[in-house]
Point group: C2
């Protein structure tokens, strides 16, 4: 929102505790089942959190689904086991956990290594007299509070510091056994007890269940929405008139039985995702709208930089990143740019956004390139969106498991003409001659046909009357009346292939939390008064209505706004007007309208803007039409200031 | 949509198979995991189904949440077991299943009784030479196809017909053992095998799982969203400035492990619900907006009518239904009317909608009144929305289990003054005298205090110096220095109470399917050409764009529509224009715009309306602005016909 008055939003340092207490008090979200003592990693969204999430989803739908005409899906959460056996999730969708050798307490291995090494680095910086800001927390499995690893001021040798930094920079790169080795080599123990920890064990993160009354059908809750897209590929392709590229999109709930959910929305056991699967020709990953985003400047951290143990960021235009090969292809680049634009649109700070490329070991073996949109927050850089080129992996595994052809068939404008030698069989004579061995003989000949030099020898021998095959230790004589090799012209009129998949995958809860941090500030003149400067499009409530007297005056306005689908809230509580405004600043409500005794007499309303706290006054009709225009984005606050008088806090009542 | 041309939508009888094949072919929805053989009761929504559902949800949010300023929630699906132990779901959220005595096949008991008795009635009508339309299907647990119970033309005695009709009219009224008795009395066997079935057994419908890495925390997937509202009651009350009435609302996924999911969306294992919990003062269930809906006419089937074994419907104004006591209170009446309005708004046929009151045994024991919105379809009347007055049950059970006060405290404007006798203790002397028995003695005196006649005797005896209590077989002497009874004036300034809950609960999948049936018809002149006359607000795609030549001409239009968040689809496939229109009629797309060679030459577009197939022609600018107005509802088709020329199928190209 543009404003004609400069507001200093950085007068006070960010205070995380203050924000979190406001978010709980105003019920953006709260631990689920709180009156039952809560369960780690499960959160409920209250009215402002639900509305904020619904608005982010509405913007997402417009930005991605509508603008790019994606095919939306809504598939089930409950999934029969064979699907996740094929996808590899049953075997591999796991985190590494270690157990305290004496207490049996469960810890996530990579979090343990991170927490302990970071604490040592903090201790080192203290010993060197430097200030540190690193978060040195280790999560444990079942308790809700994070444990801080106590940093002890101990100076480390320079090479150890470099080693630790390098380990931390590529932490996602280590396998379970490697994490175990790190614990041994660097004497990493459970910081709570000082006890050694066990060898890392894989713990599958999927919630299991059973479908149907007989208990015979094991199922899992999906840990991502993606499989629902892949399984419906043929129907989607048909819906898209059998042409690619096209993208499917889905917004829905997913579940991961995390070993160690973190406090807050950053690592939870149930969350809302938005996922896109863009199906593309493996031979042509260009994007028809690439020219529209090629000049978008993004901030990147390529894998080469990380491999050097560094985290320096580079600003680059997407067009250049693709043309120089930093980003693998146009479609991946297109989505990186669109993600960048989306995040800025909903209010994420451009200066706290980077795209980090996955390192080779970090990516799934089939992926060809992967970029995470990471957002900087009070706990450091957090992955919020992954954007991967998954090649043909997903469709291939389901095709193999089900035998259903998840492929694209394209008519070729110019048929491909090729010539080659082809074996022809006389089935009647073959059958009579070989009886039950027919199948093996035929297969052996097919193998020869596929092997050019062998086929040439085979043809030569046949030209001399006969040839002998050795199959399963037996010899079979083939004669020219049984088989012949013919030079044939082959005209291929269709091309059949398995599409590749580019997958942008959004964790909406993380994005929502980051947005809250980026939007939060406190008033220069009063550090206790916080404001959430959420953009109009995502603000949970658009207008606060504060009646200081009777209700009748604002009822037409309320009805008009609500008929337009605008969420407006009436605060007719007994709190002072200042308090009512203050708590709605904390809710991020962009505008406030006050009706008082003078208003009724004069048929006026006052209009207040959240960030500047400036107030204007005008007739009921003028204020109503102006606030509607402001909400729709048809007018800026500066323009509104030109249309209405400044309110000086005193209304003329004769 | 108003139209200046009359269209005959009832020329042909409804053909369910035709509709279902279109819904599958156009991918409104399809069995989930189809390429893996599918799982009964799990369905995926494709692009038109997802968009239709998203549009219904958007209308629901506007109609209920925004217009009535409800507090939206988004709570978790995964729920720890103690919550459902308290709510009664672990003990009682079950259906009755029977097993085939020989094959072990699982059948739902009530469905078995219904299927067999209906088949006998059909057979009876056939024997009497009457035509029948009843659906006589029995669902089985695991197979996907419904079994038809074969109707054998056998005439039944008149009293048996009446008995069967009466059983069917109150089928929801029977307990498990009663269903078992019915099977025995009426010789109801598994229609597939002719075998007898076992005694009905309860099967809990909740999907179970386990939370966390240690497996120590059993959990369930919620079978409804309601508990998430109740558990957050205190936070919601606080958000509403500690005042009631208020309503919370939630749209989300729920799960029920149905014994026998039906084909289609009518009984599924995973579904999207929308639920409202309206918290109200048990002493005052009036509704401040009741006057706005009191004249809405609804069609009702009260419990008295059903108890007589009848299904006659009555038209009545909601105001009258409440004032005559048919509907228990204003708030319940308000929601019944709002539900009625909502269903009509999205396109449900008013003549196929009724509100059926629950019979006494059918309701939960704590409920005081309950009305189901039932919609008529090809399989008869189907419950789509329940609207119940649940009294204080839910908050009470969670308060008892957790000890947390889920109550409202109201300051009383006029304090309630009362006088009564109160016992006062001298704790010091009591303690010295009774030692370890103090607790029992004190409790015994408290019991006396709560019982007026005993207290009077106690007071009298004390007035004579002392009294003796018998506690746990021991006697204790109380003297006036230990206790005294004082006449006290009590001023009660706050009232504390547990609110009652009125709960409208919507099954969105069922509503969506009913809407598809009610919207479907076939063209008078071609029974093969189907049309889905979905209202603009919920139509999945608003505009079809059919380019017969280059794309450039319509790009600005597409961009403008998409920027407005309007889903428009470009069909540039090679199919004929007639075919392209026909398949978009099946998708329910209200408008089509064609660009051809003449258009480009003349800078014109043609605009087609779905139901009438009438076409208009105008300049690119005019058609663009008119189609935007049509979509926003700012213009009717009749008005558009007045603004543009009729297109005669020939464009002037010199």
């Amino acid at each position: 929102m543009s404003s004609s008055i400069a507001v200093n939003k950085t007068a006070h340092p960010f205070n995380k505790q203050q924000l979190e207490s406001v978010l709980t008090q105003r019920f953006f979200y709260a631990p689920a089942f709180e009156i039952y003592g809560g369960v780690a990693g499960l959160y409920d969204y209250g009215p402002p959190g639900s509305a904020l999430q619904a608005n982010i989803i509405a913007e997402w739908r417009k930005h991605f689904i509508i603008e790019d005409s994606m095919l939306e899906l809504d598939t089930t959460v409950m999934t029969p086991a064979p699907v996740f056996e094929a996808s590899g999730h049953v075997a591999r969708f796991a985190d590494w956990m270690v157990k305290d050798a004496k207490t049996g307490e469960v810890l996530r291995a990579d979090h343990l290594v991170k927490g302990v090494l970071e604490a040592r680095l903090v201790g080192d910086r203290e010993a060197r007299g430097e200030k540190s800001v690193a978060d040195t927390s280790v999560d444990d499995g079942e308790k809700k509070k994070k444990k801080k690893v106590k940093a002890i001021a101990t100076r480390l040798p320079d090479e150890t510091v470099h080693l630790y930094e390098s380990i931390l920079a590529q932490l996602d790169n280590y396998s379970g056994p490697e994490l175990g080795l790190l614990c041994k080599e660097h004497k990493i123990t459970n910081p709570d007890t000082g006890n050694e920890v066990s060898e890392p064990q894989a713990f599958n993160l999927m919630f299991g269940s059973s479908i149907g009354p007989t208990g015979q059908h094991p199922g899992y809750l999906r840990p991502e929405t993606a499989q629902g897209h892949f399984l419906n590929f043929s129907r989607l392709l048909d819906f898209n008139y059998n042409r690619i590229p096209f993208a499917s999109a889905q917004i829905g709930r997913s579940f991961r039985n995390e070993i160690s959910p973190r406090a807050g929305l950053l690592r939870v056991r149930e969350f809302t995702m938005a996922e896109i699967e863009h199906f593309v020709d493996p031979l042509d990953k260009s994007h028809e709208k690439f020219h529209l985003i090629k000049d978008v400047t993004i901030c990147v951290l390529p894998r080469e930089t990380q491999a050097e143990g560094k985290t320096d960021l580079t600003s680059i235009k997407v067009g250049e990143a693709v043309s120089t090969g930093i980003i693998a292809n146009e479609t991946l680049g297109y989505f990186v740019a669109r993600i960048h634009q989306f995040l800025l649109k909903i209010g994420i700070d451009e200066n706290r956004l980077r795209f980090r490329q996955h390192m080779s070991n970090e990516m799934a073996h089939y992926a060809t390139d992967c970029w995470d949109a990471e957002i900087y927050s009070s706990v450091g850089w957090i992955e919020c969106i992954g954007c991967a080129d998954r090649a043909a992996y997903d469709l291939t595994v389901h095709m193999q498991k089900t035998g259903k052809p998840l492929v694209v068939r394209q008519s070729l404008k110019d048929p491909i003409i090729s010539e080659k030698d082809v074996v022809e069989f006389n089935n009647k004579i073959m059958g009579k001659t070989f009886g039950k061995d027919l199948k093996f003989v035929t297969e052996a000949v097919k193998d020869i046909e596929a092997d050019e030099p062998r086929l040439a020898r085979f043809k030569n021998e046949l030209a001399q009357g006969s040839t002998t095959l050795k199959v399963n230790g037996q010899e079979f004589k083939l004669t020219t009346d049984m088989v012949s090799v013919k030079h044939t012209v082959i005209k291929q009129t269709t091309r059949e292939f398995t599409p590749n998949v580019i997958e942008p995958s959004f964790g909406l809860g993380r994005i929502l939390y980051m947005l809250l941090e980026h939007s939060w500030w406190t008033r220069e003149d009063d550090q206790q008064r916080g404001v959430l400067s959420l953009p109009m499009a995502v603000a949970p409530i658009k207008v606060l209505i504060v009646p200081l007297s009777a209700k009748e005056e604002f009822q037409p306005l309320v009805q008009e706004l609500r008929a337009e689908g605008v969420l407006c809230r009436v605060d007719d509580s007994t709190a002072s007007i200042g308090k009512r405004y203050a708590r709605n600043d904390e809710l991020g409500t962009p505008f406030g309208i006050t009706v008082d005794f003078a208003s009724i007499k004069n048929r006026t309303l006052t209009l207040r803007e959240r960030d500047t706290t400036r107030q204007l006054i005008g007739t009921v009709e003028d204020v109503t039409s102006i606030v509607c225009a402001l909400i729709k984005g048809d007018m800026t606050w500066s323009q509104a200031e030109g249309r209405l008088d400044v309110y000086d806090g005193v209304q003329a009542v004769e």
